[in-house]
């Protein structure tokens, strides 16, 4: 099993964290919602996996390309 970085493709602010450690996600399932450009943008799972760690909190500012969570690929 390998650890996979979940990166945000856009800079923004964390609006809502929808996945919790231990959650099993399919590819593209939302890990969290960012607010950017007055929109709610989902940061999706890059592949099927189990959430290992969430690295940011609500309201945090996120840079483009920042790793926001770690998945364990399954």
């Amino acid at each position: 099993m390998s650890a996979i970085d979940v990166k945000s493709e856009i800079s923004g602010r964390v609006f809502e964290i929808v996945a919790r450690p231990g959650d099993r996600l399919a590819e593209d399932d939302p890990v969290m919602i960012l607010e950017a450009m007055k929109m709610e943008i989902a940061v999706g799972a890059p592949c099927n996996g189990v959430v290992k760690q969430i690295l940011v909190g609500n309201e945090d500012s996120i840079a483009e390309g920042q790793v926001v969570a770690i998945l364990e690929a399954v």
Partner: protein, 551 residues
Amino acid sequence: METPETAGRSRVAQPRPGAVDAGAPLAAGPGADLAVADILARIEQARATGGDEARRQAVVRQHALGKLSARERIAAFGDPGSFREAGALVRPLPEHGETPDAPADGVITGDVRVDGRPVVVSATDFSVMGGSSGKAGGLKSARAIQYAIDHGLPYVSLMDGGGHRIQEGLDSRHFAGVSTPFKKMVDLSGWTPICAAMMGPGFAGPSNFAALADFVVMVRGTSTMGIAGPALVKAATGEDLDKEELGGASAQVDRYGIADLAVDSDVEALAAIRRYLSYFPSNARAPLPVHPCDDPVDRRDAALLEMVPPNSRRAYDVRKVMEAVADRGSIFELKPGYARNVVTALARLDGRPVGIIANQPKHFAGTLDSPACEKVAHFISVCDAFGLPLVFFVDIPGFHVGSPAERSGLALRSARIIYELGRATVPRLSVILRKGYGLGFIAMNGGRTFGADLTVAWPTAEICAMSIEGAVDVAFRKDIDAAENPGARRAELIGKFRSRVSPLAAAEGFGVDDIIDPRDTRPVLIEALARTAPRRSASSAPPKFHDISPI
């Protein structure tokens, strides 16, 4: 008197070393009296030495690399049995008294049929000196391109290796007068569709050729593109990079957008080019290929009512809108993994090819950044060259903003869309799905700037210079700060402007031709295309030689 028989014999009896199997001259000189049948047999023998049967080992090596041979590729690309080769008997010109073993001089050229239509094809043969281009091979490639120009036929280049044959290139007498077919490629560009398949190593020259193609497909795992390969990079800068990381399909297709599509095999690459060509006429003056359409023109998809969330903060997948509107199964997305904030796709409406450009709210909120602008600008240019009408699905909160946007030169790169729209002569139709904000709205063919042939809004449309909240915060900051209750004042201002931003207001000001029921989008677009002239006149342009692209 010259009879056909002696004429044929005198042609093949010319002392042209290398023209056929150099080791077995056909005629020993005056007095040689071979029967035509013998000459033909020898020619067939020479021809066979270049075929896959005679070169089993080379073919097996190709297969072991997960690749087809150049001849297998051409056979798989064209309609069955349609390949007519030009120059099968070519051998390299001897240098310093030696003739390298290079059947067809490493490039196979000719024409095939694709869905019955003629297409000029050239395929570099990696098994012949790495697919490198020698003098004779260069002449063959140039002639293939010239043939496409002269006869108005699409040109397809199947590349595997190539570039300058280094044995010839390390000689100033040869290289100083280097003559590549670049100029011919530029002449061909915009006249007939140009496609390139990268099916093997393609760093340097081949990548520059592919860059002049309209559509480039790469095979994952076997192909590379880029200005220089890892060995050259390591020698020049010390940077140590793996070829896949430097120029493999996932880098060049999805990250850098150098190519349009990545596929998993040679066969898929060839099928992708066949599919691409099905949307295009043979040349810029030929009519569009119209396919029979069994999808009803008046089909109203009820799902369209629910596709755009009423809450403008919510994202959705615009590809679902495209699929509900276009002919079933007709959407062929280009650069699907690159600049995903905008979707560019070939499609059909009532069997007629169109180019669709749609903001994708799922990514980057559907804003246009530099990669997206380049993707859109190139797509408009290709569609316009060959007469494909443009259909825009607009939901754009604006251009991407911030320091990364400026570093990427977005102000220039965004202007390339404006430039392409300004010079385009094909019909262009716009459907405003939701947001149409600011300059981004104009770049998506919104408003009257580029004389849209049809511009309609969905009931969810909100068209204005920028988001109302953002505008109020910027333009009325002093007003809000000075108010007794700043929050209430801000809300009051937002409410005031919101009442002015609606699809009805856009229609009242004649910024849009009409507001439509989303379910009617397909019939409305099809009807509009049916009554629109295929090209608008460029006669109002001043007598210049050409306009100047911002990039």
